[in-house]
Symmetry: C2
Subunit: 698 residues, 2 copies
């Protein structure tokens, strides 16, 4: 087999994944959608989600067009090449947007069937919700690998220059990152603004229940779950997934041409042949196959306990990991029998992904000590609850950092910087199934809201709550996985960047003052980014509160339940506000690395990126885990501990939970995008920065 | 003049400073201490502070003895040298403890005279409080420079080897850091545990006012202000002050011997003579003289407004800066006319110190927009108040990081890494007066508490409140200054460490995986440290609450005001608890860098330190400023804004203020110690780590 054949294998695996996603989509469309009221409400949520996507895609279209033109200018006018970076950028962006669209529409389509099924069978309900999530999981990996392979094959065919192709393909990652920016940051602001706005105006001011249909913000709130947790998470991991492969290709190039150009650091894979590029692509293809097999075999008995359900899902993800481990051994053994260390890097990545997931669950689930003792701290009021939550979130950074550090050292030992990138590819290879279990959560959450709003019998809500609680666990694991993989991906992108700017290892020394200053600036930027996104949630939520107040005042009969609220207006408002508030953090992520590189020099940018990745990683874990723990501690109290609902402890826990909302659903996850986007921007503009930097301080 | 003469100049300046401190101590002892009740209460606070110090010094004695023996073993057995590191360590520790003792006893002696004077004259009261603080300011700089110069002269005389002397003298810095650890971390836990414990058990549970003498924790709370804000701040800055000089000497050595050993990075000062060592010492001596002059000329009219009072204090600090600028020009021009860049570095440091102070005030004072709009966010409850506070704290990291980065680049440009160290010396040269304005705050705060507890006429409390509010401003400025100088000092210590482990610039490259992993670990450690110190406050506060409950139950007549509370027991309990909780974070700061260096290698430790300094700096600013802003927003509401005292907005602000307590007074300031201590430990053990490291991953 030659290079083209490997590309075709990857494309075939991707197409199989797309077929499976199509099959599940059809499966869900054939399910019963329940009562007329259920249909009506779920259509409103679906319509709201579509509204958001339509508007978002309008903004994205403008943004993508502008960036594509800039990239084309850089390619053609500045560098004198054909505009392949712009081409790769467009494909990456369009396919990410497509995956997000398919996943989100299917997720909104799945909530009514899930609720309806919950009236009769917990397990059938779980199955529908899981398959609803699996459409997102399979779409992301299939479209990601399909697009990347296609761009590689086409560009290489047209240029007949592998080195140049690998430079252009970074554009694909930039495209993926741009969509992730809109989906994750914009979506994160949307979802929490709608959530906080709905709570403040409804629960607090008007005194009506959560999910009460009289609240004009209630549909926006439900849309938000899909926008943030489905589309946002999907785009985030699409970005990690494709970028980890891109970084492996770029770092593979260093080893491949080690005979011509001395690499930055010597590595065990130096001098390998073209198989160095085939391996990451084939591992990804193996991951798609493994995910399909394991998704299909996730089955439980009809009377399974919740623990058994959770185990069924877990067996899916662990099963996929085992299959990838076996297939990747075959791949490495056939293609590079003298470099079996590459396989070691794959295993390091797979193990690291599972471990990070475990520790995230440990620090956020109410089945373990940290969240239980956090719940106890509500006894002395909201202040101690918040202090303990922040302390616990900070403490929870320990294991993920140790795990990622260990993975870096091990995989570097096995196969140099290329090995580090391969460990990221390995970690993300089972994304098809891990993302499925992840996207299942919001479907179950929405199903619960739907049961409430349609006034179904209480046992339905109980069942959907059970599913939702299961979803919380998988969501926690998924969040940890998203953060860990983002850190590893961003790290390898940074290494890829460093390999392209034509400096020596010593130039990147921490003793060089520009690098040192870069490290200081890099440590700061995640904090600034969080500050901006948190304030954005506050501003947007305030606008929603004002609109809800207006509707209660101006729509006659609304508060009595005799007139319908104008849900659409709140949805439009949230969407506009979220997208507007996203502009500044988004620009920050794109402009700052270029400015640092041009003003302080390419070495300073290296220090900047490493520190931003390190600090952003730590801060993201802290915020996600503190937020998750507050949320679950509140739920734990609501189960009747420490006085249960309505007690002072419960009131204190509500304050902590609200603080945690932007922590865990806006700022924390947005940091994943920040660190990857800044790294891929640096990689795309590496040549530009190296040639045109001022470097006034070097 | 030769080297010894310069040392004698420094010693003379220090002795003058000590004379001034003695004069002020006598001045305060001659003041009227007011009514019998005032005397009794202030004696209790003084006795409490002494109790704390006695116990603390018992722990310190053991700790210092153990470390001194270890250092002596390292010097003699391992390296085959006389135990000069141990000697320097002992002198550094003992003098720091002495300065802390003098400063704290004087501060507690000053509160009664300040209160008494406030019954007749606002200005006289200010003057007493300021002079009470000035004893701490002058003791710190005088004993610091005196001890350091003496150790340098003695060790150089005995060894007759300047290079070895400069290695040994790092032990002095380690001694200073060890005391700072106890004073700042232990003191920080003590002060907030007592504060939170007194509030929870008194205000919340028993429903009695703050500072009510029936509350058994009230004296401990007042002791805490002195322990944390006077002794803690003093030891923190003693550490920065002496360590910045030590780093300048160590980095000066690199330039001095540039003809023999090629330095890590070339620098404009390469090849300078012995004057390279005289300059930092003489600048420090000039700073002492400048501080004395400006302290003496801080005077106001009897009917001055509060703005005028603040300006008088400011003129003191700015005046000292101008004097240092002039004197240091003369010093550099006389000793190194070809290296006037060194003077540029001094100016960069002086300007940076003032700028950081200004921006700290901007983000925490209720006279500016951030705190005003933060106060407004209480209208939607405690959760939004906390989110906004954290966001604002994160945002406030921008300018300090930019300022320190600019200072590093400029001073490096002027005089290489030596210049960076000189900028830290310059920033800290006016410490005598800046620390005086800083230590004035707790004296005024205590005077207010005393007025309350002794039942003096309301106008006294009004006056002391005015003084306290002035103190809040200077405290904010001082805190920013402490953080900024800690970052710059730690940075130069790290550079000094790197210069001593015998590696090349390229070994410290961020592309070397051990360095990269070091950066990840370094970014995490400040978070872990904060988690531990925040949890320590919670644990200690809980013990105090239990004791207060016990006393209310078991002491007959206490709650009716007929029997005295057992204050001493609460003080003992707080002290023991604080010192016990300090052990783990303290060990962490000392052991972790050595372990990182031994296991991952000396280059990884370099990456670790840089990242820890960067992230610790950013996190410290965020925590200090968020805490300060919450506190001042609460006070702003208490002045009658947004409903004033008792309103829902006020209740929300109390929650935020309590969250902020460990932020701004325990964890945030403790980070200053963490980053400096880890750097100086690395410098002290540099040779050991270089020779005995496993470096399994290199």
């Amino acid at each position: 087999m030659n290079g083209i054949d490997y590309g075709i294998v990857a494309i075939l695996a991707s197409l199989l994944g797309i077929v499976l996603a199509g099959y599940f989509t059809k499966f869900i469309s054939k399910q019963d959608r329940g009562t007329d009221l259920m249909k009506k409400i779920s259509d409103q949520v679906k319509e709201g989600a579509r509204t958001y996507l339509r508007m978002e895609y309008k903004y994205i279209a403008i943004f993508v067009a502008v960036v594509a033109i800039l990239l084309a200018v850089m390619d053609t006018v500045v560098d004198g090449n054909p505009p392949f970076t712009a081409f790769a950028f467009l494909v990456g962006a369009i396919l990410s947007a497509t995956a997000g669209y398919i996943g989100m529409v299917t997720a909104t389509n799945s909530s009514a069937p899930t609720t309806q099924a919950a009236r009769f069978s917990l397990n059938k309900s779980l199955r529908i919700a899981f398959r609803g999530g699996a459409v997102m999981g399979m779409s992301v990996v299939s479209l990601g690998l399909l697009g990347l392979s296609a761009v590689l094959l086409i560009t290489n065919f047209l240029t007949d220059d592998l080195g140049a192709t690998l430079t252009y393909v970074a554009g694909f990652g930039f495209g993926a990152s741009s969509i992730a920016l809109f989906a994750r940051v914009g979506g994160g602001i949307y979802t929490k603004a709608a959530d906080v706005g709905a709570d403040l105006a409804g629960k607090v001011e008007a005194g009506i229940a959560e999910d009460d249909p009289r609240n004009p913000a209630v549909i926006a709130d439900n849309v938000g779950d899909n926008v943030g947790d489905v589309a946002g998470m999907g785009a985030d991991l699409y970005e990690s997934y494709t970028n980890s492969i891109i970084a492996a290709l770029a770092l593979g190039w260093m080893a491949y041409r080690a005979d011509i150009v001395p690499p930055l650091l010597e590595s065990p894979v130096d001098g390998m042949g073209l198989e160095i590029f085939a391996i990451p692509i084939l591992i990804a293809a193996a991951g798609i196959i493994a995910s399909m097999v394991s998704i299909f075999f996730v089955r439980t008995k009809e009377d399974a306990s919740q623990e058994a359900l959770l185990n069924a899902l877990r067996q899916g993800t662990y099963g996929a990991a085992v299959i990838v481990a076996i297939l990747s051994f075959i791949i490495v053994y056939s293609l590079a029998p003298n470099n079996l260390g590459i396989w070691g890097a794959v295993i390091a990545g797979l193990v690291a992904g599972s471990l990070i997931g475990y520790f995230t669950e440990y620090y956020t689930s109410d089945r373990y000590k940290p969240t239980k003792s956090l719940a106890k701290s509500t006894e002395t009021g909201p202040a101690t609850f918040i202090i303990q939550g922040i302390a616990s979130g900070m403490e929870s950074t320990f294991f993920p950092v140790i795990i990622v550090s260990g993975t870096v050292l091990l995989s570097y030992h096995f196969a140099g910087l290329y090995g580090v990138a391969i460990s990221a590819v390995g970690m993300l290879s089972t994304l098809g199934v891990t993302l499925s279990t992840d996207a299942y959560g919001p479907v179950a959450d929405n199903a619960g809201g739907l049961a409430e709003m349609s006034g179904l019998e209480p046992k339905v809500r109980q069942r959907t709550d059970a599913l939702d609680s299961l979803g919380n666990t998988t969501a926690a694991t998924g969040k940890g996985f998203a953060i860990g993989s983002a850190a590893l991906t961003a790290l390898t992108l940074t290494a890829a960047y460093a390999s392209q700017v034509g400096l020596t290892v010593g130039d990147f020394s921490i003793l060089q003052p520009p690098v040192l200053v870069g490290i200081f600036l890099g440590a700061m930027v995640p904090f600034i980014f969080c500050a901006i996104t948190m304030k954005a949630v506050g501003k947007s939520a305030f606008m929603i509160v004002k609109e809800v107040r207006r509707q209660f005042k101006e729509i006659p009969g609304l508060i009595e339940g005799k007139a319908d609220a104008d849900y659409q207006r709140v949805i439009n408002l949230s969407t506009q506000s979220a997208l507007r508030e996203m502009v500044i953090p988004g620009l920050l992520a794109i402009v700052v690395p270029v400015v640092v590189g041009l003003v302080l020099g390419p070495a300073a940018l290296g220090g900047f990126l490493i520190a931003a990745v390190g600090t952003g990683f730590v801060l993201a874990i802290m915020m996600a885990n503190a937020g998750g723990a507050w949320d679950n501690a509140k739920k734990y109290i609501e189960q009747g501990h420490f006085g249960g609902k309505g007690s002072d402890a419960h009131k204190a826990s509500v304050v902590g939970d609200t603080v945690g909302d932007p922590f865990k659903d806006t700022s924390g996850p947005s940091l994943n995008i920040l660190i990857k986007l800044m790294s891929i921007v640096s990689l795309v503009f590496a040549g530009f920065i190296a040639n045109y930097g001022l470097e006034i301080f070097l």
